[in-house]
Symmetry: C2
Protein backbone atom coordinates (compact mmCIF):
# COMPACT_ATOMS: atom_id res chain seq x y z
CA UNK A 1 0.00 0.00 0.00
CA UNK A 2 1.30 3.47 -0.92
CA UNK A 3 0.57 6.74 0.79
CA UNK A 4 1.06 10.11 -0.86
CA UNK A 5 3.06 12.63 1.13
CA UNK A 6 3.26 16.30 0.15
CA UNK A 7 6.69 17.45 -1.10
CA UNK A 8 6.81 20.21 1.52
CA UNK A 9 6.17 17.68 4.26
CA UNK A 10 9.03 15.44 3.09
CA UNK A 11 11.38 18.41 2.92
CA UNK A 12 10.39 19.52 6.39
CA UNK A 13 10.97 16.00 7.73
CA UNK A 14 14.50 15.87 6.28
CA UNK A 15 15.29 19.32 7.64
CA UNK A 16 14.10 18.43 11.14
CA UNK A 17 16.12 15.19 11.17
CA UNK A 18 19.28 17.02 10.15
CA UNK A 19 18.79 19.91 12.59
CA UNK A 20 18.20 17.42 15.39
CA UNK A 21 21.81 16.25 15.04
CA UNK A 22 23.16 19.82 15.00
CA UNK A 23 23.28 20.61 11.27
CA UNK A 24 23.22 24.26 10.16
CA UNK A 25 19.60 25.08 9.15
CA UNK A 26 20.62 26.26 5.66
CA UNK A 27 22.66 23.11 5.13
CA UNK A 28 19.68 21.03 6.24
CA UNK A 29 17.53 22.78 3.64
CA UNK A 30 20.11 22.19 0.89
CA UNK A 31 20.06 18.46 1.61
CA UNK A 32 16.27 18.30 1.88
CA UNK A 33 15.92 19.87 -1.58
CA UNK A 34 18.14 17.40 -3.41
CA UNK A 35 16.76 14.30 -1.64
CA UNK A 36 13.18 15.35 -2.32
CA UNK A 37 13.98 16.10 -5.97
CA UNK A 38 15.54 12.62 -6.34
CA UNK A 39 12.41 10.92 -5.01
CA UNK A 40 10.18 13.21 -7.05
CA UNK A 41 12.04 12.22 -10.23
CA UNK A 42 11.91 8.54 -9.33
CA UNK A 43 15.58 8.04 -8.33
CA UNK A 44 14.43 6.34 -5.11
CA UNK A 45 17.93 5.04 -4.37
CA UNK A 46 19.10 8.65 -3.96
CA UNK A 47 16.20 10.13 -2.04
CA UNK A 48 14.80 9.71 1.45
CA UNK A 49 16.22 6.19 1.33
CA UNK A 50 19.67 7.73 2.02
CA UNK A 51 18.64 10.08 4.83
CA UNK A 52 19.84 7.66 7.50
CA UNK A 53 23.37 7.76 6.06
CA UNK A 54 23.55 11.56 6.11
CA UNK A 55 22.31 11.66 9.72
CA UNK A 56 24.77 8.95 10.75
CA UNK A 57 27.71 10.71 9.06
CA UNK A 58 26.96 13.94 10.94
CA UNK A 59 26.73 12.00 14.20
CA UNK A 60 29.99 10.11 13.75
CA UNK A 61 31.92 13.19 12.60
CA UNK A 62 32.51 12.12 8.98
CA UNK A 63 30.43 15.09 7.81
CA UNK A 64 30.83 18.53 9.40
CA UNK A 65 27.50 20.09 10.46
CA UNK A 66 28.67 23.72 10.42
CA UNK A 67 30.95 25.89 8.28
CA UNK A 68 31.39 26.97 4.65
CA UNK A 69 33.35 25.62 1.66
CA UNK A 70 36.48 27.61 0.77
CA UNK A 71 38.24 28.43 -2.51
CA UNK A 72 41.79 27.04 -2.31
CA UNK A 73 43.01 28.13 -5.73
CA UNK A 74 41.56 30.23 -8.52
CA UNK A 75 42.81 31.03 -12.02
CA UNK A 76 40.65 32.58 -14.74
CA UNK A 77 37.82 30.24 -15.60
CA UNK A 78 38.90 27.54 -13.13
CA UNK A 79 38.92 27.00 -9.36
CA UNK A 80 39.76 24.38 -6.75
CA UNK A 81 37.31 24.27 -3.84
CA UNK A 82 37.77 22.64 -0.44
CA UNK A 83 34.43 21.31 0.74
CA UNK A 84 35.77 21.13 4.30
CA UNK A 85 33.86 17.84 4.72
CA UNK A 86 30.51 19.62 4.79
CA UNK A 87 27.30 18.06 3.46
CA UNK A 88 27.70 17.20 -0.25
CA UNK A 89 24.79 19.38 -1.45
CA UNK A 90 26.19 22.43 0.37
CA UNK A 91 29.53 21.91 -1.38
CA UNK A 92 27.88 21.05 -4.69
CA UNK A 93 25.70 24.15 -4.74
CA UNK A 94 28.71 26.31 -3.82
CA UNK A 95 30.78 24.88 -6.70
CA UNK A 96 27.98 25.13 -9.23
CA UNK A 97 27.29 28.77 -8.32
CA UNK A 98 30.98 29.52 -8.72
CA UNK A 99 31.11 27.73 -12.10
CA UNK A 100 28.08 29.69 -13.35
CA UNK A 101 29.64 32.97 -12.20
CA UNK A 102 32.87 32.11 -14.02
CA UNK A 103 31.00 31.04 -17.14
CA UNK A 104 29.31 34.46 -17.26
CA UNK A 105 32.75 36.11 -17.16
CA UNK A 106 34.86 33.74 -19.27
CA UNK A 107 32.34 31.80 -21.41
CA UNK A 108 33.01 28.68 -19.35
CA UNK A 109 33.69 27.78 -15.73
CA UNK A 110 35.41 24.60 -14.52
CA UNK A 111 35.43 23.97 -10.78
CA UNK A 112 37.05 21.00 -9.07
CA UNK A 113 36.46 20.10 -5.46
CA UNK A 114 38.04 18.04 -2.69
CA UNK A 115 36.86 17.30 0.84
CA UNK A 116 33.21 16.79 -0.01
CA UNK A 117 30.77 14.09 1.06
CA UNK A 118 27.92 12.25 -0.70
CA UNK A 119 26.13 14.83 -2.86
CA UNK A 120 23.00 12.91 -3.99
CA UNK A 121 21.96 12.92 -7.65
CA UNK A 122 24.53 14.45 -10.01
CA UNK A 123 21.73 15.90 -12.13
CA UNK A 124 20.73 18.29 -9.34
CA UNK A 125 23.88 20.32 -9.99
CA UNK A 126 24.13 20.18 -13.79
CA UNK A 127 20.47 21.26 -14.03
CA UNK A 128 21.21 24.50 -12.15
CA UNK A 129 22.90 25.79 -15.31
CA UNK A 130 19.58 25.58 -17.20
CA UNK A 131 18.13 28.53 -15.30
CA UNK A 132 20.93 30.64 -16.75
CA UNK A 133 20.49 29.34 -20.31
CA UNK A 134 23.75 27.40 -19.96
CA UNK A 135 24.91 23.82 -20.41
CA UNK A 136 25.89 22.22 -17.09
CA UNK A 137 28.01 19.19 -16.26
CA UNK A 138 28.71 17.44 -12.99
CA UNK A 139 30.58 14.28 -12.07
CA UNK A 140 31.70 12.54 -8.93
CA UNK A 141 33.84 9.55 -8.10
CA UNK A 142 32.59 7.04 -5.53
CA UNK A 143 33.66 3.99 -3.51
CA UNK A 144 34.94 1.04 -5.58
CA UNK A 145 32.16 -1.47 -6.40
CA UNK A 146 32.86 -1.98 -10.11
CA UNK A 147 35.16 -4.74 -11.40
CA UNK A 148 37.21 -3.54 -14.40
CA UNK A 149 37.54 -5.58 -17.59
CA UNK A 150 39.87 -8.59 -17.11
CA UNK A 151 39.99 -8.01 -13.33
CA UNK A 152 38.52 -10.06 -10.50
CA UNK A 153 38.24 -7.40 -7.79
CA UNK A 154 36.27 -4.17 -7.66
CA UNK A 155 38.60 -1.20 -7.89
CA UNK A 156 36.55 1.67 -9.29
CA UNK A 157 33.27 3.39 -8.42
CA UNK A 158 29.99 3.70 -10.28
CA UNK A 159 31.33 7.23 -10.97
CA UNK A 160 28.28 9.06 -12.36
CA UNK A 161 28.28 11.91 -14.84
CA UNK A 162 25.53 14.34 -15.74
CA UNK A 163 24.99 16.87 -18.52
CA UNK A 164 22.08 19.30 -18.77
CA UNK A 165 21.39 21.46 -21.82
CA UNK A 166 18.54 23.93 -22.33
CA UNK A 167 16.08 23.16 -25.13
CA UNK A 168 13.24 24.99 -26.83
CA UNK A 169 9.98 26.04 -25.14
CA UNK A 170 11.20 25.24 -21.63
CA UNK A 171 12.23 21.70 -22.52
CA UNK A 172 15.74 20.47 -21.76
CA UNK A 173 18.20 17.58 -22.21
CA UNK A 174 19.24 15.96 -18.93
CA UNK A 175 21.62 13.00 -18.78
CA UNK A 176 22.33 11.60 -15.31
CA UNK A 177 23.98 8.18 -15.36
CA UNK A 178 26.34 5.90 -13.50
CA UNK A 179 29.19 4.58 -15.67
CA UNK A 180 28.39 1.04 -14.46
CA UNK A 181 25.75 -1.03 -16.25
CA UNK A 182 23.33 -0.76 -13.35
CA UNK A 183 23.30 0.63 -9.81
CA UNK A 184 24.13 -1.71 -6.93
CA UNK A 185 20.61 -1.10 -5.61
CA UNK A 186 19.15 -3.00 -8.57
CA UNK A 187 21.20 -6.09 -7.71
CA UNK A 188 20.10 -5.71 -4.09
CA UNK A 189 16.44 -5.74 -5.15
CA UNK A 190 16.92 -9.07 -6.97
CA UNK A 191 18.77 -10.42 -3.94
CA UNK A 192 15.84 -9.57 -1.67
CA UNK A 193 13.30 -10.97 -4.10
CA UNK A 194 15.47 -14.08 -4.57
CA UNK A 195 15.44 -13.73 -8.36
CA UNK A 196 18.32 -13.99 -10.82
CA UNK A 197 19.99 -10.89 -12.23
CA UNK A 198 20.25 -10.49 -16.03
CA UNK A 199 23.55 -11.27 -17.73
CA UNK A 200 25.75 -8.18 -18.00
CA UNK A 201 25.09 -6.76 -14.55
CA UNK A 202 27.66 -8.36 -12.28
CA UNK A 203 30.55 -10.76 -11.73
CA UNK A 204 31.54 -13.21 -9.00
CA UNK A 205 34.75 -13.20 -6.96
CA UNK A 206 36.63 -14.73 -9.89
CA UNK A 207 35.61 -11.88 -12.19
CA UNK A 208 33.25 -14.14 -14.13
CA UNK A 209 29.77 -13.05 -15.17
CA UNK A 210 27.08 -14.33 -12.79
CA UNK A 211 23.29 -14.29 -12.61
CA UNK A 212 23.34 -14.93 -8.84
CA UNK A 213 22.98 -11.61 -6.98
CA UNK A 214 24.48 -13.17 -3.84
CA UNK A 215 27.78 -13.72 -5.65
CA UNK A 216 27.97 -10.05 -6.60
CA UNK A 217 27.93 -9.10 -2.92
CA UNK A 218 30.23 -11.90 -1.78
CA UNK A 219 33.54 -10.80 -3.25
CA UNK A 220 32.23 -9.95 -6.72
CA UNK A 221 31.05 -6.62 -8.07
CA UNK A 222 29.26 -4.69 -10.80
CA UNK A 223 30.22 -4.74 -14.46
CA UNK A 224 31.07 -1.40 -16.08
CA UNK A 225 28.66 0.01 -18.70
CA UNK A 226 28.98 -2.25 -21.74
CA UNK A 227 29.21 -5.43 -19.66
CA UNK A 228 31.78 -7.98 -20.72
CA UNK A 229 34.81 -7.24 -22.88
CA UNK A 230 33.13 -8.52 -26.07
CA UNK A 231 30.32 -5.96 -25.74
CA UNK A 232 32.59 -2.99 -24.89
CA UNK A 233 32.75 -3.12 -21.07
CA UNK A 234 36.22 -1.57 -21.22
CA UNK A 235 34.54 1.61 -22.45
CA UNK A 236 32.43 1.92 -19.31
CA UNK A 237 35.59 1.20 -17.34
CA UNK A 238 37.37 3.96 -19.28
CA UNK A 239 34.55 6.42 -18.56
CA UNK A 240 34.76 5.60 -14.84
CA UNK A 241 38.51 6.29 -14.99
CA UNK A 242 37.83 9.57 -16.78
CA UNK A 243 35.56 10.63 -13.89
CA UNK A 244 38.30 9.62 -11.42
CA UNK A 245 40.80 11.76 -13.36
CA UNK A 246 38.52 14.82 -13.37
CA UNK A 247 37.36 14.44 -9.76
CA UNK A 248 39.87 12.54 -7.62
CA UNK A 249 43.17 13.23 -9.38
CA UNK A 250 42.61 16.78 -10.66
CA UNK A 251 41.55 17.88 -7.16
CA UNK A 252 44.48 16.13 -5.46
CA UNK A 253 42.08 13.83 -3.63
CA UNK A 254 41.51 10.10 -3.43
CA UNK A 255 40.56 7.81 -6.31
CA UNK A 256 40.10 4.16 -7.26
CA UNK A 257 40.71 1.75 -4.40
CA UNK A 258 41.96 4.59 -2.16
CA UNK A 259 38.39 5.73 -1.62
CA UNK A 260 36.94 4.31 1.57
CA UNK A 261 34.52 1.45 1.40
CA UNK A 262 31.36 3.40 2.04
CA UNK A 263 30.80 2.10 5.54
CA UNK A 264 30.44 5.50 7.14
CA UNK A 265 33.49 6.91 5.42
CA UNK A 266 32.43 7.50 1.84
CA UNK A 267 33.79 10.72 0.37
CA UNK A 268 32.95 12.05 -3.04
CA UNK A 269 34.89 14.56 -5.06
CA UNK A 270 33.21 16.65 -7.64
CA UNK A 271 33.79 18.68 -10.71
CA UNK A 272 31.66 21.02 -12.75
CA UNK A 273 31.81 22.70 -16.06
CA UNK A 274 29.41 25.22 -17.45
CA UNK A 275 29.34 26.54 -20.96
CA UNK A 276 27.44 29.72 -21.67
CA UNK B 1 51.25 -12.68 -45.58
CA UNK B 2 52.23 -9.35 -44.00
CA UNK B 3 54.84 -6.91 -45.12
CA UNK B 4 56.35 -4.27 -42.87
CA UNK B 5 56.35 -0.74 -44.26
CA UNK B 6 58.31 2.08 -42.65
CA UNK B 7 56.18 4.80 -41.03
CA UNK B 8 57.87 7.49 -43.13
CA UNK B 9 57.04 5.61 -46.30
CA UNK B 10 53.34 5.33 -45.35
CA UNK B 11 53.23 9.05 -44.53
CA UNK B 12 54.88 9.94 -47.81
CA UNK B 13 52.40 7.74 -49.71
CA UNK B 14 49.41 9.50 -48.11
CA UNK B 15 50.92 12.92 -48.80
CA UNK B 16 51.55 12.12 -52.45
CA UNK B 17 48.01 10.78 -52.93
CA UNK B 18 46.50 13.93 -51.43
CA UNK B 19 48.76 16.32 -53.35
CA UNK B 20 47.93 14.50 -56.58
CA UNK B 21 44.31 15.67 -56.23
CA UNK B 22 45.36 19.27 -55.49
CA UNK B 23 45.51 19.32 -51.67
CA UNK B 24 47.66 21.95 -49.95
CA UNK B 25 51.01 20.26 -49.02
CA UNK B 26 50.67 21.19 -45.31
CA UNK B 27 47.12 19.84 -45.24
CA UNK B 28 48.33 16.63 -46.87
CA UNK B 29 50.96 16.27 -44.13
CA UNK B 30 48.37 16.86 -41.38
CA UNK B 31 46.23 14.03 -42.74
CA UNK B 32 49.19 11.70 -43.25
CA UNK B 33 50.18 12.11 -39.59
CA UNK B 34 46.82 11.17 -38.10
CA UNK B 35 46.19 8.25 -40.47
CA UNK B 36 49.65 6.80 -39.82
CA UNK B 37 49.23 7.23 -36.06
CA UNK B 38 45.90 5.37 -36.21
CA UNK B 39 47.47 2.40 -38.00
CA UNK B 40 50.50 2.52 -35.70
CA UNK B 41 48.22 2.29 -32.64
CA UNK B 42 46.19 -0.51 -34.19
CA UNK B 43 43.02 1.46 -35.05
CA UNK B 44 43.12 0.01 -38.58
CA UNK B 45 39.58 1.20 -39.33
CA UNK B 46 40.81 4.81 -39.05
CA UNK B 47 44.15 4.56 -40.84
CA UNK B 48 45.21 4.02 -44.41
CA UNK B 49 41.97 2.09 -44.83
CA UNK B 50 40.17 5.46 -45.06
CA UNK B 51 42.58 7.18 -47.46
CA UNK B 52 40.34 6.46 -50.44
CA UNK B 53 37.47 8.39 -48.81
CA UNK B 54 39.61 11.48 -48.18
CA UNK B 55 40.88 11.44 -51.77
CA UNK B 56 37.37 10.98 -53.13
CA UNK B 57 35.95 13.81 -50.99
CA UNK B 58 38.58 16.22 -52.32
CA UNK B 59 37.81 15.12 -55.88
CA UNK B 60 34.04 15.52 -55.59
CA UNK B 61 34.27 18.88 -53.79
CA UNK B 62 32.93 17.77 -50.39
CA UNK B 63 36.30 18.65 -48.83
CA UNK B 64 38.12 21.85 -49.76
CA UNK B 65 41.79 21.29 -50.74
CA UNK B 66 43.01 24.82 -49.99
CA UNK B 67 42.34 27.51 -47.38
CA UNK B 68 42.40 28.00 -43.61
CA UNK B 69 39.85 27.59 -40.79
CA UNK B 70 38.47 30.86 -39.39
CA UNK B 71 37.36 31.99 -35.95
CA UNK B 72 33.69 33.05 -36.18
CA UNK B 73 33.16 34.04 -32.55
CA UNK B 74 35.43 34.34 -29.52
CA UNK B 75 34.68 35.09 -25.87
CA UNK B 76 37.18 34.55 -23.06
CA UNK B 77 37.99 30.87 -22.77
CA UNK B 78 35.67 29.83 -25.61
CA UNK B 79 35.55 30.07 -29.40
CA UNK B 80 33.48 28.98 -32.38
CA UNK B 81 35.54 27.94 -35.39
CA UNK B 82 34.40 27.53 -38.99
CA UNK B 83 36.36 24.69 -40.58
CA UNK B 84 35.39 25.96 -44.05
CA UNK B 85 34.99 22.32 -45.13
CA UNK B 86 38.76 21.73 -45.07
CA UNK B 87 40.31 18.36 -44.22
CA UNK B 88 39.26 17.28 -40.71
CA UNK B 89 42.81 17.04 -39.31
CA UNK B 90 43.60 20.59 -40.48
CA UNK B 91 40.53 21.88 -38.67
CA UNK B 92 41.13 19.63 -35.66
CA UNK B 93 44.73 20.75 -35.20
CA UNK B 94 43.65 24.40 -35.55
CA UNK B 95 40.96 24.03 -32.86
CA UNK B 96 43.21 22.12 -30.48
CA UNK B 97 46.00 24.71 -30.77
CA UNK B 98 43.46 27.44 -30.05
CA UNK B 99 42.08 25.52 -27.04
CA UNK B 100 45.60 25.03 -25.63
CA UNK B 101 46.39 28.74 -26.12
CA UNK B 102 43.18 29.67 -24.30
CA UNK B 103 43.85 27.17 -21.51
CA UNK B 104 47.24 28.82 -20.89
CA UNK B 105 45.48 32.18 -20.51
CA UNK B 106 42.25 31.22 -18.73
CA UNK B 107 42.98 27.82 -17.11
CA UNK B 108 40.70 26.13 -19.64
CA UNK B 109 39.81 26.46 -23.30
CA UNK B 110 36.65 25.19 -24.96
CA UNK B 111 36.45 25.37 -28.73
CA UNK B 112 33.49 24.30 -30.83
CA UNK B 113 33.64 23.88 -34.58
CA UNK B 114 31.33 23.69 -37.56
CA UNK B 115 32.03 23.00 -41.23
CA UNK B 116 34.60 20.29 -40.71
CA UNK B 117 35.02 16.90 -42.37
CA UNK B 118 36.10 13.44 -41.12
CA UNK B 119 38.95 14.01 -38.64
CA UNK B 120 40.22 10.46 -38.05
CA UNK B 121 40.85 9.22 -34.50
CA UNK B 122 39.55 11.54 -31.77
CA UNK B 123 42.55 10.65 -29.59
CA UNK B 124 44.94 12.40 -31.97
CA UNK B 125 43.59 15.76 -30.80
CA UNK B 126 43.08 15.14 -27.06
CA UNK B 127 46.64 13.75 -26.87
CA UNK B 128 48.10 17.07 -28.10
CA UNK B 129 47.32 18.54 -24.68
CA UNK B 130 49.74 16.07 -23.05
CA UNK B 131 52.78 17.84 -24.50
CA UNK B 132 51.72 20.92 -22.54
CA UNK B 133 51.06 19.03 -19.29
CA UNK B 134 47.32 19.51 -19.78
CA UNK B 135 44.23 17.32 -19.91
CA UNK B 136 42.68 17.22 -23.37
CA UNK B 137 39.23 16.25 -24.60
CA UNK B 138 37.82 15.87 -28.07
CA UNK B 139 34.49 14.66 -29.42
CA UNK B 140 32.74 14.52 -32.75
CA UNK B 141 29.30 13.58 -33.95
CA UNK B 142 28.94 11.32 -36.99
CA UNK B 143 26.40 9.92 -39.44
CA UNK B 144 23.49 7.99 -37.84
CA UNK B 145 24.18 4.23 -37.63
CA UNK B 146 23.10 3.61 -34.02
CA UNK B 147 19.53 2.59 -33.11
CA UNK B 148 18.43 4.24 -29.83
CA UNK B 149 16.77 2.28 -27.02
CA UNK B 150 13.14 1.38 -27.89
CA UNK B 151 13.62 2.57 -31.49
CA UNK B 152 13.74 0.58 -34.72
CA UNK B 153 15.70 2.96 -36.93
CA UNK B 154 19.21 4.34 -36.62
CA UNK B 155 19.08 8.03 -35.75
CA UNK B 156 22.36 8.81 -33.99
CA UNK B 157 26.06 8.37 -34.73
CA UNK B 158 28.77 6.32 -33.04
CA UNK B 159 29.75 9.78 -31.68
CA UNK B 160 33.21 9.15 -30.16
CA UNK B 161 34.77 10.95 -27.23
CA UNK B 162 38.36 11.06 -26.09
CA UNK B 163 40.13 12.23 -22.94
CA UNK B 164 43.91 12.36 -22.45
CA UNK B 165 45.56 13.12 -19.12
CA UNK B 166 49.29 13.28 -18.36
CA UNK B 167 50.65 10.72 -15.90
CA UNK B 168 53.91 10.18 -14.06
CA UNK B 169 57.24 9.36 -15.72
CA UNK B 170 56.01 10.06 -19.25
CA UNK B 171 53.01 7.75 -18.91
CA UNK B 172 49.50 9.00 -19.69
CA UNK B 173 45.80 8.11 -19.60
CA UNK B 174 44.18 8.02 -23.04
CA UNK B 175 40.53 7.15 -23.56
CA UNK B 176 39.32 7.08 -27.17
CA UNK B 177 35.97 5.37 -27.62
CA UNK B 178 32.82 5.32 -29.70
CA UNK B 179 29.63 5.60 -27.65
CA UNK B 180 28.22 2.56 -29.47
CA UNK B 181 29.01 -0.94 -28.23
CA UNK B 182 31.28 -1.67 -31.17
CA UNK B 183 32.33 0.00 -34.41
CA UNK B 184 30.42 -0.82 -37.61
CA UNK B 185 33.68 -2.21 -39.01
CA UNK B 186 33.55 -5.09 -36.52
CA UNK B 187 30.12 -6.15 -37.77
CA UNK B 188 31.44 -5.88 -41.32
CA UNK B 189 34.30 -8.26 -40.50
CA UNK B 190 31.82 -10.90 -39.26
CA UNK B 191 29.70 -10.34 -42.37
CA UNK B 192 32.69 -11.00 -44.63
CA UNK B 193 33.74 -14.05 -42.63
CA UNK B 194 30.14 -15.28 -42.58
CA UNK B 195 30.15 -15.68 -38.79
CA UNK B 196 27.55 -14.59 -36.26
CA UNK B 197 27.99 -11.41 -34.22
CA UNK B 198 27.80 -11.61 -30.41
CA UNK B 199 24.59 -10.54 -28.68
CA UNK B 200 24.64 -6.87 -27.75
CA UNK B 201 26.23 -5.55 -30.95
CA UNK B 202 23.34 -4.87 -33.29
CA UNK B 203 19.64 -4.93 -34.09
CA UNK B 204 17.53 -5.79 -37.15
CA UNK B 205 15.08 -3.52 -38.98
CA UNK B 206 12.49 -4.11 -36.24
CA UNK B 207 14.89 -2.88 -33.55
CA UNK B 208 15.29 -6.40 -32.16
CA UNK B 209 18.69 -7.79 -31.17
CA UNK B 210 20.22 -9.98 -33.87
CA UNK B 211 23.29 -12.18 -34.27
CA UNK B 212 23.10 -11.99 -38.08
CA UNK B 213 25.48 -9.27 -39.35
CA UNK B 214 23.53 -9.05 -42.62
CA UNK B 215 20.43 -7.86 -40.74
CA UNK B 216 22.43 -5.03 -39.17
CA UNK B 217 23.24 -3.66 -42.62
CA UNK B 218 19.78 -4.29 -44.09
CA UNK B 219 17.72 -1.69 -42.26
CA UNK B 220 19.05 -2.43 -38.77
CA UNK B 221 21.92 -0.76 -36.93
CA UNK B 222 24.33 -0.79 -34.02
CA UNK B 223 23.31 -0.89 -30.38
CA UNK B 224 24.52 1.96 -28.16
CA UNK B 225 27.15 1.17 -25.47
CA UNK B 226 25.38 -0.94 -22.86
CA UNK B 227 23.43 -2.93 -25.46
CA UNK B 228 19.77 -3.60 -24.70
CA UNK B 229 17.65 -1.59 -22.26
CA UNK B 230 18.05 -4.14 -19.45
CA UNK B 231 21.85 -3.73 -19.49
CA UNK B 232 21.84 0.08 -19.68
CA UNK B 233 21.88 0.73 -23.45
CA UNK B 234 20.01 3.99 -22.84
CA UNK B 235 23.18 5.30 -21.18
CA UNK B 236 25.24 4.82 -24.34
CA UNK B 237 22.39 6.49 -26.21
CA UNK B 238 22.50 9.37 -23.71
CA UNK B 239 26.26 9.74 -24.17
CA UNK B 240 25.82 9.87 -27.96
CA UNK B 241 23.21 12.61 -27.47
CA UNK B 242 25.62 14.48 -25.18
CA UNK B 243 28.22 14.46 -27.97
CA UNK B 244 25.57 15.73 -30.42
CA UNK B 245 24.72 18.56 -28.00
CA UNK B 246 28.38 19.59 -27.60
CA UNK B 247 29.29 19.23 -31.28
CA UNK B 248 26.29 19.61 -33.57
CA UNK B 249 23.94 21.80 -31.52
CA UNK B 250 26.45 24.04 -29.70
CA UNK B 251 28.14 24.88 -33.01
CA UNK B 252 24.86 25.55 -34.81
CA UNK B 253 25.52 22.62 -37.13
CA UNK B 254 23.77 19.41 -38.04
CA UNK B 255 22.99 16.54 -35.65
CA UNK B 256 21.11 13.25 -35.36
CA UNK B 257 19.37 12.20 -38.56
CA UNK B 258 20.19 15.54 -40.22
CA UNK B 259 23.78 14.40 -40.75
CA UNK B 260 24.29 12.99 -44.21
CA UNK B 261 24.56 9.29 -44.70
CA UNK B 262 28.28 9.04 -45.17
CA UNK B 263 28.18 8.29 -48.86
CA UNK B 264 30.54 11.04 -49.85
CA UNK B 265 28.83 13.64 -47.74
CA UNK B 266 29.82 12.83 -44.15
CA UNK B 267 30.55 15.91 -42.07
CA UNK B 268 31.79 15.87 -38.52
CA UNK B 269 31.60 18.65 -36.02
CA UNK B 270 34.06 18.86 -33.24
CA UNK B 271 34.63 20.27 -29.82
CA UNK B 272 37.63 20.48 -27.53
CA UNK B 273 38.30 21.30 -23.97
CA UNK B 274 41.64 21.61 -22.31
CA UNK B 275 42.27 22.01 -18.62
CA UNK B 276 45.63 23.26 -17.49
Amino acid sequence: MYKCVAVAEVQSFVERCMRAVGTDPQHSTALSQVLTEADFRGHFTHGLNRLEVYVRDIKNGVTQPQGEPSIEKEAGATALVNGNNLLGPVVGNFCMELAIKKAKEHGIGWVVCKGSTHFGIAGWYSAQALQHGMIGMSMTNTSPVVVPTRASQSSIGTNPLSVAAPGKAGDSFLLDMATSGVALGKVEMCHRKETEIPQGWGVNSKGLETVDPKEVFEGGGLLPLGGKEITGGYKGYGLAMMVDVFCGILSGSTFGTNINDGRGKTKDWLTWVTVS
